[in-house]
């Protein structure tokens, strides 16, 4: 009996005082705030990360396109149609392809590919194809391959393409592409650079 009484006394419900409640509410809010801020930081980190990945992926994809065309290039032309090769415009002569995607005749059948920043929307990088109609499997087209291009710079052996006088000597091109994206007032930028040798250039 004595034992039971002792236990009842110990666990007798007494309720909370105002101070206790206030302390609990304060601690609770502090914890909720801390978690919330952690969550927000985490979410921001995620968004930043995915923005950076997007920018990097765009850059890599575009550079892959450009370097693949450049590798197959026969020569860089000073101009073609209305396009003129400069530090941000590239006119490339490439061999025409048959229906299997194979080179037809490197000495006589050519297509032309132009890479340039759109004059109206300078963040858009365009790939324009002028195909050898009726021969090549390529089709005339103009396609925007990057919408976040901040800068597209071309040089050969360290010399800006706009300063090159004799394009017949150009056998290597360096491309520097900067892609950028704005997110919540922050700019994410990636700069990639590649050097490509024109593999089909005749000596």
């Amino acid at each position: 009996m004595k034992l039971r009484k002792f236990n009842q006394e110990k666990f007798k419900p007494e309720g909370f005082t105002l101070i206790e409640l206030l302390v609990i509410v304060a601690i609770g809010s502090f914890m909720v705030l801390a978690m919330l801020s952690l969550y927000v930081a985490g979410q921001r980190y995620f968004m930043n990360g995915s923005a950076r990945t997007d920018v990097l992926r765009d850059n890599r994809q575009v550079l892959n396109w450009v370097s693949r065309d450049l590798k197959e290039g026969i020569q860089v032309l000073p101009s073609w149609d209305v396009y003129t090769t400069s530090s941000d415009c590239l006119v490339l002569q490439v061999p025409s392809l048959d229906s299997n995607g194979l080179i037809i005749d490197i000495d006589s059948q050519f297509d032309y590919i132009v890479y340039r920043l759109n004059s109206e929307y300078p963040n858009r990088l365009e790939r324009i194809i002028d195909a050898n109609d009726g021969v090549s499997n390529r089709e005339d087209s103009s396609r925007v391959i990057a919408t976040r291009a901040d800068s597209f710079q071309l040089s050969s052996e360290g010399v800006d393409l706009s300063s090159v006088s004799d394009f017949s000597q150009v056998s290597r091109i360096e491309v520097t592409l900067i892609t950028a994206k704005n997110l919540l007032g922050r700019t994410f930028q990636e700069t990639l650079r590649t050097g490509v040798k024109l593999r089909n250039k005749s000596d």
Partner: protein, 479 residues
């Protein structure tokens, strides 16, 4: 007494015995019951059992599970934070990994193309599978130097004996596991007509090379400007086709900043001798295949100029090509070549005391030697362009005596005298390349700086090798 001690024993067991709380409680109750039946120990037992119960109650009160709840909340918050981080990490990792694997596959495909071209030019394709319409070879599990497997290469050569063989090489790399594969195919159409680079070494002796003490051979690239500073390389290769003991003899302190090659299929350790402190900074190895030393084709149809002999302070300006029976310069005489010319000297070509042969800046000069070459130590050959590819000295088959290279002034040029033995006595800087039948002695303190740009220099020779070069290249679209 006995009873009391048995109680003590059980109490001790109960107190110490492991088990669940309920078991322990039951045991305590048993103890209490026993207490009631043994009045002598009642008081003491009730105190003990009360103490024990109070202990159990205490432990009951502590187990509120609060730590678990807090732990779970913290863990879920951390998980919430970790998920985007892991997601981003994995997507970046995937991106990088894919790009790396694609590059590896492209490199493997390129390596396959190189292998096929080498096999067509120097090797024997009959050991490959297939027949003369299609030869194939697979290189499985190619390993990097560290032993890591990179991937496989499949090489196909369509019509290897035709005028334009087609090489298709596919590099395959396992992506994340062995089931996901990344393949890249390179397709190359070949054409014949090229020839192996003639000036592939800084110094090459068909039969032997003797390098005296303290001589230095290194390299630079004239396309990057003059020798010096960052434009000093370690491609100053030395080689011979000789295969017997000591064909290349490097004396004390001689230094080669490049590879030293012994003849094909020879033992480089026996062919190449390095004496006290002689150093090879590259590799010592046998040539993959014998270096062809083709004859020079003598030029036809040059205007005949006859004998020219210049004496004291005479000055001659040459601006047109011509064939000379001899060209002798003596006592301060000077010849200036002002334009792109080809000179063919069928007899003696001598540059004696204090004479000068000057090549104006920008002029490309080729001098064919058909007789003899004599040079005093104080004569000069001044190639003002300071570009070795702009001055070629080529020996025809009749130029087969000893060529004494004595000039102690700097020289920029390429010397190819395949039937002549050269005594290289100069210890001034020699920029370019020198190829001879025997390089008898590269003098003490000589400094030969091989110009790497000369590998691209093409000279028409009587080369018999039918050499395939790339006509067209493309990354084959995936099917």
């Amino acid at each position: 007494m006995n009873l009391s001690s048995s109680f003590q024993q059980r109490r001790k067991e109960n107190f110490l015995s492991p088990g669940t709380k309920d078991e322990r409680l039951t045991k305590i109750k048993e103890v209490s019951k026993m207490d009631k039946t043994n009045s002598n120990d009642v008081k003491r037992k009730s105190v003990i059992s009360r103490n024990l119960e109070s202990r159990i109650d205490k432990s009951k009160n502590e187990e509120k599970g609060f730590v678990l709840v807090v732990g779970m909340i913290v863990m879920s918050v951390l998980l919430l934070l970790a998920v985007p981080f892991l997601y981003q990490l994995s997507s970046e990792n995937r991106l990088t990994s894919k790009s790396y694997k694609s590059s590896a596959a492209i490199s493997l495909a390129e390596a396959g193309v190189e292998r096929a071209i080498w096999e067509l030019n120097y090797g024997d394709m009959s050991s490959w599978s297939g027949d003369s319409s299609l030869r194939t070879m697979t290189i499985s599990s190619l390993q990097a130097s560290g032993g890591n497997v990179i991937g496989d290469i499949d090489i196909k050569v369509v019509e290897p004996d035709a005028e334009n063989p087609v090489v298709e090489s596919t590099g395959t790399v396992a992506y994340t596991d062995s089931l996901t594969l990344i393949s890249k195919t390179t397709r190359v159409v070949l054409k014949s007509g090229g020839s192996p680079p003639l000036f592939s070494h800084g110094a090459f002796g068909d039969e032997e090379v003797d390098i005296e003490s303290n001589a230095i051979l290194d390299s630079y690239d004239s396309r990057n400007g003059l020798y010096g500073g960052s434009n000093i390389g370690s491609q100053g290769h030395v080689g011979t086709n000789g295969t017997h003991y000591g064909c290349i003899d490097m004396n004390s302190n001689a230094k080669v900043y490049g590879n030293v090659f012994s003849g094909s299929e020879s033992d480089p350790d026996s062919v190449i001798i390095t004496r006290v402190n002689a150093q090879i900074y590259g590799e010592k190895r046998a040539l993959d295949h014998p270096k062809e030393i083709p004859s020079i084709i003598t030029p036809d149809g040059l205007p005949f100029r006859g004998d020219y002999s210049l004496g004291t302070d005479d000055v001659l300006t040459i601006s047109e090509s011509g064939e000379y029976t001899s060209l002798r310069l003596d006592s301060n005489a000077k010849v200036t070549i002002t334009a792109d010319v080809t000179l063919y000297i069928t007899g003696e070509f001598s540059l004696l005391s204090n004479t000068q042969l000057e090549i104006a800046e920008g002029a490309n000069v080729t001098i064919y030697l058909g007789g003899s070459f004599v040079q005093s130590s104080n004569s000069e050959i001044n190639n003002l362009s300071q570009d070795p590819s702009q001055l070629l000295l080529l020996g025809t088959d009749s130029f087969n005596g000893v060529m004494e290279w004595n000039s102690n002034s700097q020289f920029w040029g390429a010397v190819y005298v395949p039937r002549s033995d050269v005594s290289f006595n100069s210890n001034a800087d020699f920029f370019g390349s020198i190829i001879a039948k025997r390089l008898d002695s590269i003098a003490s303190n000589a400094r030969i700086h091989y110009d790497e740009a000369l590998t691209d220099l093409y000279i028409e020779t009587a080369s018999e090798s039918s050499f395939f070069i790339v006509k067209s290249w493309q990354a084959k679209p995936s099917q």
